[in-house]
């Protein structure tokens, strides 16, 4: 009978810190609020007046999907969710910067506000700060990094 290698149990690289523990819980809570708000807003815009500003409303819906994905991924555990969270937060940062710039320089393209318009000014710039904090937190909780 094979004796189990004790190292297989001792080796255990220290579990990376879960993204949803400690300060991460607050981050997930804020993301959840934005996920809910963005989803509800996009839903109402698309259901009631899609033809007014299709681009802005599709963008709202896209932002909503990104927030929902980031919330779920940050709340989940394991390296796969960590990667999904990294992707979602990165897309979010690129989104808020791109839409922020476009909406400032070409307001005509965005006749109705989205979460990311003017860098999230309508939301106290939280949409701009959130992905930065998210990425910093993901760096600290990176799989393989010792807690």
């Amino acid at each position: 009978m094979r004796v189990p290698d004790p190292d297989r149990f001792a080796d255990a690289r220290p579990e990376p810190r879960a993204t949803a523990s400690g300060p991460g819980r607050v981050l997930v809570a804020v993301y959840a609020i934005f996920a809910l708000g963005a989803t509800a807003r996009a839903g109402v815009q698309i259901a009631t007046r899609f033809d007014d500003a299709p681009l802005a409303y599709l963008l709202s819906a896209f932002a909503a999907v990104v927030y929902v994905l980031a919330t779920v991924a940050l709340a989940g555990s394991g390296s796969i969710w960590w990667r999904v969270a990294l992707g979602a937060c990165s897309v979010e940062l690129v989104g808020v910067l791109t839409v922020g710039l476009l909406s400032v320089f070409d307001p005509a393209a965005f006749p109705d506000a989205t979460v990311w318009s003017a860098f999230g000014r309508g939301y106290l710039f939280v949409p701009l700060v959130l992905p930065v904090i998210g990425l910093a937190w993901l760096r600290r909780t990176a799989p393989g990094r010792r807690p």
Partner: protein, 122 residues
Amino acid sequence: MLVTGVAIAVALAALAVAGWAFAQVVRNKPPSGPLLTGLAVVEVLLVVQTVIAIVLLIGGDRPQSMATFIGYLIGVLVVLPVGTLWALAERSRSSTAVLGVACVTVPVLVLRMYEVWGGASA
């Protein structure tokens, strides 16, 4: 018009409890019984506000955008219970901060509800 006094009372109560929560975070405390009671009081005020809104809706008052208004009405009712569940799954100072964040969203939602009811564009 949604009853101004109730909206202000709810918003101020939520802000007070939020301030209390963040003070507890600074003092490194996990969520305490009294703080949770504070949240419960805010939730009761929110239920009162909801009942008033429903009575006004039945009475024929109409917000600018019904869908948006109903969305806020439901959202503002669930934010504290859901936030509390999420906070209490791990009792730490961060949980207390989660409660504070949940409380801060209440006045924001109440303000938006008030705007939607009063006719500012949604």
